[in-house]
């Protein structure tokens, strides 16, 4: 159920990135897609009522594996967030430079390249 919502969020982001005409809205769409993927990664490792995956003395029983949250997807999400931050910063920088050159954010008017 939650996965469906997550996928829906991904689709909303994709729709926004593909259909919208404003460059800033396209960037927002890409950001929504990235958040949806990060959310998906976190949900993969999450467990209802789970415990933090830190082993304490005397905790080595089999119960630990069954109760702990999987930490690996969290590490993945952290890395993915850093990458998406770099991409977004670069995208916004290009948006600002484009606005400086063309004086508009509308991609239907920014069409020097075609054919």
């Amino acid at each position: 159920m939650l996965y469906t919502f997550c996928f829906l969020l991904f689709m909303i982001g994709l729709y926004c990135a593909v259909v919208k005409k404003n460059m800033v809205k396209i960037v927002i769409g890409v950001a929504i897609m990235e958040y949806a993927v990060n959310l998906f990664l976190i949900m993969l490792g999450y467990r209802m009522g789970g415990i933090a995956p830190i082993i304490e003395p005397g905790d080595m029983a089999a119960g630990f594996v069954n109760r702990a949250v999987d930490p690996l997807p969290q590490a993945l999400a952290l890395t993915a967030i850093v990458i998406s931050l770099a991409t977004l910063a670069l995208m916004i920088a290009v948006c600002i430079r484009v606005y400086g050159k063309y004086g508009t954010f509308d991609i239907t008017e920014i069409r020097r390249l075609h054919g």
Partner: protein, 504 residues
């Protein structure tokens, strides 16, 4: 000699960050350091040609830590990346003087090389994604480097499509991890072999195909490529077209499809369809172009179609249980065309940069008669055009011949016919380039311009000599067994190649 695998990533990465500290007045030193780094990288690849194996980062054993794996296919790609990077860097010494902030350019360039080396060496799918993004982000910035109208527009388009592709890949990685519980490529393949595929894994494969095809600009996903390649500075176009779309797109796709999921009919047909579409659509869009670099960019799509078609044909034959010899012939044709294309297309982009630098225009109709003023550029461009069109002694002929022979032996005469037809159209479009750029009347305003000598010419001459000699790789058995056959073996082995990594 044993070279530690992280060197291939660390050397350009460290140099990139050191170069970022240099200011504009020290750019002479920075250029020397950058060239030293790419040449040293090439040297290291050459001395470790026969070395295969894996390296565990931080000495964590395979399922726990990150591993770097160097097998035949990685070696082939590593060699291609190093050769093209060295040539493009040498060319940049003079060419990039036109732009400001040259040290930033050198730094981004090396960052891109580090990312690509990381992609081909990575034995871990998430690590592959990280390096893919390192190379992509550096290339977005390099496409926008000129900061003029066209560059910014192209960079924005490239960046949005690239990020969408990256999201697809990351979602696929998440699905893969959720279904198998591991991220190591070799372990993934053993898990998938024992459990079989389910809907989640198939959906992940679809996401990978879409994501990597976006990065590799195969035909339904090619919209960004002509703009980006046309607008970037010439050495960057050479790197993008020569190695970036190969290592980020085709290599990653082949690695996932052949060695993680295993060869199946579906994969074979998908690759074949993408390849044939790219071949045909790319070449017909290219013929009508009047911008030199845009024409070359569309040919990149078409020639990458050959590579993917070869790989797909091999997968199809193996999946149908056909002759393994024919399958490896098709895959060898594809991989050989990959390295050939890297050399001749980089050379063509470098010559187009030389023409643009001397004349100030890329429009074919405004050029002409440059044979009188630019003999060196003309000679190298002719060699590269002959190679891409598949004229016999040059490199492109041999790889196309292998593909045609493989298609005929697989009883797909129509495929061989399409291959030859596309090759003919390529020849026509390069005759057009020769006719409009180098032959004809020299316009009055261009008669006083002289071509650049020095490092730019050396870089082009180096690649032109390679174009002429690369047929030897297929003709001399020693070279073939040393360079191509290990790479072909990795792909034809499919899932079995994982065993080598897990039990060295």
């Amino acid at each position: 000699m044993n070279v530690a695998l992280p060197v291939f990533v660390a050397l350009p990465l460290i140099t990139a960050f050191v170069l970022a500290l240099f200011n504009a007045r020290q750019k002479g030193v920075a250029t020397w350091i950058a060239n030293g780094a790419t040449l040293l990288g090439l040297l290291l690849v050459l001395v470790s040609m026969n070395q295969q194996g894996s390296y565990q980062v931080g000495r964590w054993p395979i399922p726990l830590g990150i591993s770097l794996v160097k097998d035949g296919l990685s070696t082939l790609l590593l060699l291609t990346i190093s050769v093209i990077a060295a040539a493009a860097m040498l060319y940049s010494c003079r060419y990039m003087e036109q732009y400001t902030a040259k040290t930033k350019y050198l730094s981004l360039f090396l960052l891109m090389v580090a990312g690509m080396n990381g992609v081909v060496l990575s034995g871990d799918i998430f690590n592959m994604f990280v390096f893919l993004e390192v190379a992509s982000i550096a290339s977005y910035a390099l496409v926008a480097f000129g900061c003029e109208h066209q560059e910014l527009e192209a960079a924005f388009k490239y960046m949005v499509l690239g990020s969408v592709g990256a999201c697809f890949v990351l979602l696929g990685i998440g699905l893969l991890y959720g279904n198998t519980g591991t991220l190591n490529l070799a372990q993934l393949s053993t898990v998938i072999r024992t459990t079989g595929t389910n809907y989640g894994l198939s959906f992940a494969l679809a996401l990978f195909v879409a994501g990597f095809a976006l990065k590799g600009a195969l035909v339904p996903f090619h919209a960004w490529l002509p703009d980006a390649h046309q607008s970037a500075p010439a050495p960057v176009s050479a790197m993008l077209s020569g190695v970036l779309i190969k290592s980020l797109g085709v290599y990653a796709l082949a690695r996932i499809a052949f060695n993680v999921y295993g060869i199946s009919l579906l994969v074979g047909w998908t690759l074949m369809t993408l390849g044939i579409l790219s071949m045909v659509v790319g070449v017909f869009l290219a013929v009508g172009q009047w911008d030199f670099k845009r024409l070359l960019a569309y040919h990149s799509i078409s020639q990458m179609g050959y590579v993917v078609m070869g790989l797909g044909l091999g997968a199809l034959i193996l999946a149908q249980g056909g002759s393994a010899t024919v399958a490896s012939l098709a895959i060898m044709g594809g991989l050989f065309h990959l390295i050939n294309h890297a050399v001749f297309k980089s050379l063509l982009f470098l010559t187009s940069g030389s023409v643009e630098m001397t004349t100030g225009t890329r429009q074919l109709k405004e050029l002409g008669g440059l044979i009188q003023t630019m003999p060196g550029t003309r000679a190298t461009c002719t060699v590269a055009s002959a190679a891409i069109a598949g004229i016999p002694p040059f490199s492109g002929f041999w790889s196309k011949l292998l593909l045609v022979v493989a298609a005929v032996q697989a009883q797909m005469i129509w495929l061989a016919a399409v291959t030859v037809l596309v090759s003919l159209v390529t020849l026509i479009s390069f005759l057009k380039v020769q006719r409009y750029v180098f032959l004809g009347d020299l316009p009055e305003r261009l008669s006083q311009r002289r071509e650049n000598r020095g490092t730019m010419m050396w870089a082009m001459a180096f690649l032109a000599v390679l174009c002429m000699c690369m047929g030897l790789i297929i003709l001399v058995p020693g070279l073939r067994e040393g360079i191509l056959e290990p790479a072909v073996l990795v792909l034809t082995d499919g899932l079995d190649s994982a065993v080598v990594v897990l039990n060295p």
